[in-house]
């Protein structure tokens, strides 16, 4: 097995989100029998840990790496270092200033804008929103928040505060409880990380406010999708990591085989984000299921 070329998909930390990418990678593996594809989690979501992981992969003889950099903006040099040794692709969040071959992924700013659209639609009278997120300073959170703010700017919908929880679910839930206690008349809640909407959903349910407060979600947690179907969550914005994994792996293989034409002029392969609401949630969930079960 050692003779097969190895392709690695390095993610930025352990989360369910990457389970879908893993399914995509698996699918690609079926179609690429001459390669060894793997998806690697750094044991912590820290730039240093991820960098170490990539260095070890290169030392271990990997042929190409696709990475969701923990911190693309300021990891230019370390990414360049990896990129100078093996072909490097970025995903999830781009690092345009590096020597990466191409970026394949979505735009968090666009996703935020879509969430803003959901909010405008669900709150025609306007209203006050409060957001919940794991790490408010992280790039993906910032871009989503900024995207949303840019859409609702000028309307009567307002994002008054965003509470962070350091990816601690207990605190995530407590934040929602406290927000509700401090602002009993809040109109809308936004969950920016995948686990935030379910926590919002539960607190609203327990306090009997489900349906009264508009919930806007990101990502495809089963509870989120359930809430969307039920109508208690106005809508959710989903990315498509499955395609990132699937298309990304195929792209890397082609590239290694010498086909440079797969990389477009601007080096960007954007997989658009989708708005899921009551109308299309069933179809989306069916697709998800079949992908995860490897169908």
């Amino acid at each position: 097995a050692q003779e097969k070329k190895q392709l690695a998909f390095v993610v930025n930390g352990a989360s369910d989100f990457w389970k879908l990418a893993e399914a995509g990678v698996k699918k690609a593996q079926d179609e690429l029998p001459n390669y060894d594809l793997s998806l690697k989690y750094p044991e912590q979501a820290a730039a240093a840990v991820q960098q170490r992981l990539m260095e070890d992969l290169v030392a271990g003889g990997v042929s190409a790496i696709m990475v969701s950099a923990v911190d693309p903006k300021s990891s230019t040099d370390s990414l360049n270092k990896i990129g100078s040794q093996v072909p490097l692709f970025t995903t999830d969040s781009d690092a345009p200033d590096t020597n990466r071959i191409a970026y394949i992924g979505s735009s968090n700013t666009d996703a935020g804008k879509q969430a803003g659209e959901i909010a405008l639609k669900a709150l025609p009278e306007g209203g006050k929103c409060i957001g919940f997120v794991g790490l408010p300073g992280a790039d993906n959170a910032r871009e989503r928040i900024e995207g949303m703010k840019s859409t609702i700017a000028g309307s009567k919908v307002e994002l008054i505060d965003v509470r962070g929880d350091d990816i601690d679910q207990t605190r995530a839930k407590r934040n929602v409880e406290d927000a509700l206690a401090a602002n009993p008349d809040i109109d809308c809640m936004v969950g920016f990380y995948s686990y935030n909407p379910p926590r919002i959903y539960e607190v609203l349910k327990e306090s009997g406010k489900l349906g009264q407060v508009t919930v806007i979600a990101f990502d495809e947690d089963p509870i989120t999708l359930g809430g969307v179907r039920e109508g208690t969550i106005a809508g959710t914005v989903v990315q498509d990591p499955y395609e990132w994994g699937y298309q990304g792996m195929k792209l890397m293989a082609k590239y290694l085989e010498g086909d440079k034409s797969v990389v477009p002029e601007n080096k960007l392969i954007i997989v658009p984000t989708k708005m899921i609401d009551k109308s299309n949630v069933d179809a989306f969930e069916a697709e998800l299921k079949s992908r995860i079960s490897g169908g």
Binding site: D16, D161, R163, D168, R171, A181, P184, P198, D221, G226
Partner: protein, 321 residues
């Protein structure tokens, strides 16, 4: 029963509470009090558990990892509906006790340092939890409902969360065990001076092991309550740093990490203070990035003031005596 140190902690809590209530009267709203009480219950159970090990002269660093691992196991058992929730609860607590037995054995019989044993536990149990779930979040599917289980663990009785009730019951029982029972006395003796305890015919190893079993067993109970609170567990982050909460609560409450000192009342008050601080950050709209800083500062100020007051008290008392 309440000693000077505990009294001071109580005063500190009242001061902090009053200040918060003045700035934002919603602090005293029933819903907020109920929410805070719920979290006091959740965190209090494993803080009391930690106190037992600390009094024995040890430390239990794997609390957060145990909460993650056992939470995952519990949700998995219940969600798959393979076993009845009551049985699942028993299984999880039994695993907790086994973990405690193992830690106690390594510390008391093989003579390893508690810090090392439980640090390894911290690493290993989280690793197992992550491997077991393949790093995926464990949770109940949408709409899954276990009414009795949910009512028992996350329900409220006239606004009093059941987690708080469980905590109070556990605290009362453990208070008697610690302060009134032969075992409790032996535990303090072992923590203070293990050699002298052995010379007095106390089975020191057994006492130490029992402390770890109690600690990990109660932590397992807390793991179930916490799992039912979040209803989903991402194994890589669930419970991270909870050991520090537990140790901070115990130490705030007068436990000495040198062993042999501490009281249940103190630990309870320590837990209350930490949760009130968390609540304060959210209610006063302090940036969440400052959450930790606020907590750290108040603990430090509290401990410092306590220290200074007790020094002065000792000085005033001396000539009079």
């Amino acid at each position: 029963m309440i000693n000077r140190k505990d009294l001071w902690l109580l005063i500190l809590i009242i001061i902090v509470g009053t200040v918060v209530a003045i700035i934002n009267p919603r602090f005293l709203s029933p819903i907020n009090l109920s929410n805070t009480a719920n979290l006091i219950g959740l965190f209090g159970i494993f803080a009391v558990a930690q106190a037992f090990v600390i009094i024995s002269g040890g430390i239990e660093l794997s609390v957060g990892s145990i909460i993650a691992l056992l939470g995952v196991v519990f949700i998995d058992l219940v969600a798959s509906e393979a076993v009845n929730p009551a049985l699942a609860f028993v299984i999880v607590v039994a695993i907790g006790c086994l973990i405690g037995l193992l830690h106690g054995f390594l510390v008391a019989k093989l003579g390893l340092q508690p810090f090392v044993v439980t640090l390894c536990g911290l690493l290993i149990y989280r690793g197992i939890a992550r491997y077991y779930t393949e790093d995926a979040t464990a949770g109940f599917p949408f709409g899954a409902s276990f009414p009795t289980l949910e009512w028992l663990t996350a329900g409220r009785f006239y606004g009093i969360p059941h987690s708080l009730i469980a905590f109070i019951v556990i605290t009362l029982v453990m208070g008697v065990v610690l302060h009134k029972s032969v075992f409790g006395r032996y535990l303090f003796a072992v923590g203070k001076n293990e050699e002298a305890a052995r010379y007095s015919g106390i089975h020191t190893a057994r006492i130490t092991i029992a402390a770890y079993v109690i600690c990990c067993g109660l932590t397992a109970v807390a793991a179930v309550f916490i799992a039912m609170y979040t209803r989903s567990i991402s194994p890589s982050s669930h419970g991270n740093f909870y050991e520090l909460y537990a140790i901070a609560a115990a130490v705030l409450g007068g436990c000495s990490l040198r062993g042999g000192e501490g009281s249940i009342v103190g630990v309870v008050l320590g837990t209350v203070l930490l949760q009130v601080l968390q609540n304060l950050v959210n209610l006063l709209g302090i940036p969440s990035s400052l959450n930790f800083a606020v907590m750290g500062s108040v603990i430090l100020i509290g401990v410092l003031a306590d220290q200074q007051i007790s020094r002065r008290a000792a000085r005033v008392k001396a000539p009079a005596g």
